[in-house]
Symmetry: C2
């Protein structure tokens, strides 16, 4: 799998990689970060170098709240924010503190594949809950919740990875109400929340305010994960959890936090400077415009070169979730043809957890890998990322994809 | 406990805090970090802002190896290094990937209390192994290993927290050989390894090369944890694991690493600049000299003001492990007297795991808290930190401590 979709390594020469989910080099503002680092270190304050509060510096949390408010995402009381070293690590901590191996975790089907990998590492019993074009289906969630206790519900409710879907407001409310009724913690992975763009996109069009956070709907049961990875820089490893103060206290009083203190004080000070100077807001507008432009380039290329491909247009996020009826992306001949044409995609099966069948299946522990039930349908899907490659590379990538699928006659 | 010994919060006005284990403000070189950040961002390389390799940038790992070699600590092949966001988080990852709740973990008695807190969070069965003035006792370790399987052995083998002890070379070899024979992974917390000073210390005396790492003795069974927290800045959250490439690969291929990429690329680039410019080496020499000076001030004050207190002189690290025969540090009247005299110490019982009794005790899971067996002896001990307060504050702190103990007649 990592050969197909590693996101942490350099580009292979000549290959157009539509699989990796990281921002392209041109979306990583080195000058902005340099300026912010200059500001953060200008005062030569030794306290910046100390362990720092477990939840993160209060001034930084206030800056995050003010930034969110200016972005139209709504202010958040600093006591409901906990700064982390990225959203992935936040998810890891939540799994280790709020669940135990063998516990059941419900996840949207399809789900971010590396979240599924985390759940396997923690020995959780992963069970998929059906989604449709509007995201997680409340009736399916209700059936899964009735089937037995679950420690967590994980979903990407906003500009989802891999589908691009955003839960409509009524469905947001229904999902959170169901989880609350059953006493299940909701982990809402909202790292794409500020990436909305206008669709169909003009070159510099931007969309309205970000979709509402699930944590704003229910302040007792939702831990919403966010970070600057998708809007500024993954390498700064600065994220935050928005959630109930009691849950944040449990994290702050864990051994690892009491020992290590704040999770990333130095990058936090850098991000704070970018927030307070307004340079981050400018950059977010730039990212949204570029994403809209690239989404348009990818969608147009698909319509022109691969008209049998089906997908819903995205209005934010990094991805299109594309179905080619009759295709088997995972078939060896398909993968060989893609390699021959020097283009990479993320096969849909990567994102498939097992399906809920009403009751937990014996032996389901650790079985949350793609390829189980539901994967038959997922084999026709692929996730294409429009954040890494620019418009020209996206067009060329789709041309190669179309040629590769022609080779295998699908 | 956190009221007594929180290390993550500011000083209370007027209180001399000999409990917290963090470096004093004057040991946090803000100008150095600013210069290093300038260098790191000078090239405006967007790759610095990308997710980055899971194990950390190869150039940074080479810089760590070269730095260790120049410090006399021995070069480490970059494939045996894994960069982390501090040693505490490294320990958390190791617990979550190489152990499961209910597994037995052997720890030196006494042990770093917040490592014990981490083991409790992971649901590990903590069992203490006796130490003497030279650290962990091999015969006690052998008995514990024979009593049943263990997932991990945790110890601070160099300038230990809380005792200041360094295992002599023969004991290092014996401990590692025993663990290897029983197939038990050794987690060697070596964050104080570069803090050695001459003892008795002149104002600017420094000691010889750092003690050998356990990971240099056995390259198959030891995961050695290190970081820049004790020699540069906790807030940079930059650490590293030295260990077998197979174990490092297991960490690199975990879900959380595959999702989040390198654990702290931006601070890593800053630390690399400080290593390559030599400013870190200069600062480490400064830290060692100051620690030696402060150790001397604390030891002299104890001899003068509290002559019945017993301790071994330290030759590195942050701590003196002080016994006052007949004292009960945890007694309410002792704690009240310390508070009245505005001085804080870390009670020895914090560092006490349960003692091994030959076989795992039923119900021992999660019982690794201070106050169990062995704590009776530990009640005469306290850990005093000489890294946070300067020489004058150390002298005043000891005077207050002596006055407080006079109040309670011990």
């Amino acid at each position: 799998m990592s050969a197909t979709i590693s996101t942490q390594h350099g580009d292979d020469a000549g290959v157009i990689d539509l699989a990796r989910g990281d921002p392209g080099r041109d979306l990583l503002p080195a000058a902005l970060v340099r300026d912010a680092a200059d500001r953060a270190t200008a005062t030569l304050d030794p306290d910046l170098l100390q362990y720092g509060l477990e939840a993160g510096d209060a001034g930084v949390r206030e800056a995050v709240s003010a930034f969110l408010e200016r972005e139209g995402a709504g202010a958040v009381a600093p006591e409901r924010l906990f700064l982390t070293a990225g959203a992935s690590l936040a998810l890891h901590l939540i799994c280790s503190l709020f669940a135990r191996p063998g516990d059941r975790i419900l996840v949207a089907d399809p789900s971010y594949h590396l979240a599924l990998a985390q759940f396997r590492d923690h020995g959780l019993r992963v069970e998929g809950v059906a989604s449709d074009a509007d995201g997680l289906v409340p009736e399916a969630l209700e059936a899964a919740l009735r089937a037995g206790p679950a420690a967590l519900l994980y979903l990407v409710p906003v500009f989802a990875n891999p589908t691009g879907t955003t839960l409509p407001p009524a469905r947001q409310a229904a999902v959170v109400a169901l989880a609350a009724r059953h006493g299940v913690r909701v982990v809402a992975d909202e790292v794409y929340r500020l990436t909305g763009f206008a669709a169909p996109a003009g070159a510099d069009a931007t969309a309205g305010p970000p979709p509402r956070s699930l944590a704003a709907i229910d302040t007792e049961h939702v831990l919403a994960l966010n970070s600057v990875s998708k809007i500024l820089s993954p390498g700064l490893r600065l994220g935050w959890i928005e959630g109930p103060p009691a849950d944040l206290r449990r994290i702050a009083t864990s051994g690892v936090l009491r020992s290590g203190g704040g999770m990333n004080p130095f990058p936090a000070a850098v991000v704070r400077a970018a927030m307070e100077r307004g340079t981050l807001a400018d950059h977010v507008a730039h990212v949204r415009a570029r994403l809209g432009e690239r989404h348009g380039a990818l969608a147009h290329a698909l319509a022109a070169e691969l008209p049998r491909a089906v997908h819903s247009p995205a209005t934010g996020g990094y991805f299109l979730w594309v179905r080619v009826p009759g295709l088997d992306v995972d078939a060896p001949e398909t993968l060989a043809a893609l390699a021959r044409h020097a283009v990479r995609v993320a096969p849909g099966t990567l994102f498939s957890p097992p399906r809920v069948e009403g009751t937990p299946r014996p032996g389901a522990e650790g079985a949350g890998h793609a390829g189980a039930e539901g994967a038959g349908h997922a084999r026709e899907f692929m996730r294409l990322c429009f954040a890494h490659a620019g418009p020209a590379a996206l067009r060329e990538g789709v041309a190669r994809l179309a040629a590769a699928l022609d080779d295998v006659g699908s």
